[in-house]
């Protein structure tokens, strides 16, 4: 699975680095002074690298926890994100990562303890208020768990820090780590979906919609709280029929009581990211959709966007009270 491992010389003896070297004994190991030497140079081709990404092991010594834009959130007032990993196992054509990063290699920051320490500090600033920490901004939170063991390291921390809430956002069905543990009331596993027919076309390497729903069902039966993320909402032929079918299938399999939140997000990308993605995949029909530049973002035209969100909202509210439904809007128009 991993043929090449770049590693910062400063993490060469780190136990997590050694565990990964042992896991991939055949991998070509290449030392570097700083991960940016490998990850950041311009002129790399994300599309080619995505065929066989290398793993980069590094230590992130900068700011590790960042505030989330005010227009995002799932009910909490204090919202932050952190990225122990950059890039994803999956290859979703709408994903902003392909427009944001020059490289498709998996960049793993293995100093998890520093992330957890900073989360502890941030949460301690508002001890009487729930602080939310989102882990799936720059990677899928669970897809590479067998390799990263991040959730394994984070769950005991969140068990002991109940004012800190964690969202694991994923399209993975690799949920064993959660199924083998007692549920934590401050951890939400949020699954992202597009309808099956769309997923099959633009979410490459992603487990099927039905297998993801089955993973949700298993977690629900174990007592874990769940999130549903229809984000981005993709315009398509038979939109109403496809989204109704998706939403019905999810709610037919997952008990309402285990749903923490549902969020809806329109398709939107910063304009420079969109341009890069269009250049990378010139044959992609998604990029020839009814999209327009609004402010600094590219999204569906207003009329389409509002209509599609209204439809999804109507279907969701047939199953769920409105206080559990959230909208993620771009922060800058």
């Amino acid at each position: 699975m991993i043929d090449t491992i770049y590693f910062e010389e400063q993490v060469a003896d780190h136990p997590r680095a050694n565990a990964l070297f042992l896991r991939f004994p055949q991998a070509d190991r290449i030392p570097c002074t700083h991960y940016k030497e490998v990850f950041n140079p311009s002129g790399q081709n994300f599309r080619i690298q995505k065929k066989k990404p290398a793993l980069i092991l590094a230590k992130n010594s900068g700011k590790l926890v960042h505030p989330v834009p005010a227009t995002y959130g799932i009910g909490g007032k204090e919202n932050y994100y952190f990225s122990h990993m950059l890039n994803c196992l999956y290859d979703c054509r709408y994903c902003f990562l392909q427009g944001m990063y020059p490289s498709a290699h998996y960049l793993l920051f293995i100093n998890y303890e520093d992330f957890l320490e900073e989360i502890e500090k941030v949460a301690a600033e508002k001890p009487n208020q729930a602080s939310w920490f989102f882990s799936g901004y720059d990677c899928d939170s669970l897809a590479l768990e067998k390799l990263t063991r991040f959730a394994q390291a984070a769950l005991p921390f969140f068990a002991n820090h109940t004012s800190a809430h964690l969202e694991l956002r994923t399209k993975s069905v690799a949920t064993q780590i959660l199924e083998n543990e007692d549920p934590l009331p401050n951890v939400v596993t949020a699954f992202s979906f597009t309808p099956k027919e769309i997923s099959e076309v633009i979410e490459k390497e992603v487990p099927s919609v039905s297998s993801r729903i089955q993973a949700m069902k298993r977690l629900s039966e174990k007592g874990w709280k769940l999130g549903i993320r229809l984000d981005p909402i993709i315009d398509c032929n038979d939109f109403e029929k496809l989204y109704e079918s998706l939403i019905s299938e999810i709610f037919a399999n997952v008990t309402i009581g285990s749903i923490h939140s549902v969020s809806l997000g329109p398709f939107r990308l910063p304009d420079p990211f969109f341009k890069r993605m269009e250049k990378l995949y010139p044959e992609e029909p998604l990029f020839a959709s009814n999209l327009e530049k609004r402010g600094r973002s590219v999204s569906y035209c207003n009329e389409i966007e509002e209509h599609r969100i209204r439809i999804c909202k109507r279907f969701i509210l047939q199953h769920l009270p409105p206080e559990k439904l959230f909208f993620c809007q771009p922060s800058e128009e």
């Binding site: 030497e37 490998v38 993709i234 020839a288």
Partner: protein, 268 residues
Amino acid sequence: MNFIIALQPEARPLIDRYKLVKRNDTTSFPIFENENHRLIISGMGRINAAAATGFLLSQIDHDSEAILNLGIAGHGELPINTPFIANRVFHVEEKNVHYPPPVIDCSIARSALQTCNASEKAYAQQIGYDMEAHSICSVAYKSITRELVQIIKVVSDNPSRPLDSFEPKTATDLISAQLSLIVEIAEHLDSLAQSISKDPKIFSLIKKIKIRHHFSATQTHQLEKIIHQAHILGLEHSEIIKISNSSTTARNFFHDLNQKLEPLRRLS
């Protein structure tokens, strides 16, 4: 597909394999080529390598052509006659270290490679030693996608058999012995390059439409974009030409084509 090789004896097996013919119109660096391959002889050392790479780039039309630097090299560990791909390329006087992205999926040794100012005799580390690769990467990366620039060396000397002098026949024999592997890698790189190159049919279509109407600079960008989209959305090229022929101005053409594309713009 492009090759940069320091000396002609190292290049001879490829010249013969691809039946490359020497071009007569260049005086700076000897270039051998056929319809699909171009090979430049750089001469030894960093300055020659950088200059030859720059010259080669001037001969390449776009950024989706691959470059393979091939040659013999010293190595602190690998046995003589072992081919290897450079995975980290550095020069002690240069700040930039290059990491040619790992895109070659075949059984071949991987090694760091130090580019030196003179041939290495001490073999201080268990890595490769050459005199060109770092300069080639430094120059080529400015124009060519990094994945498409790769370095393949064949070990000619090591601590147990140090280099005394350059033997042309030995260099030719070392490369010849690895020729099938080198050709396999070149083909792989070439197919990677083709996988990201633009469809020439679209360009010829754009050219035809530009003859028919006048497009401003901004409209030219719009034209390229909409023709691409029409192609993606499955509109036949003949249909696009028909719309172009029936439109009186560039503006009309955009309007009519957009109308035709509107119902196709939703994913199905």
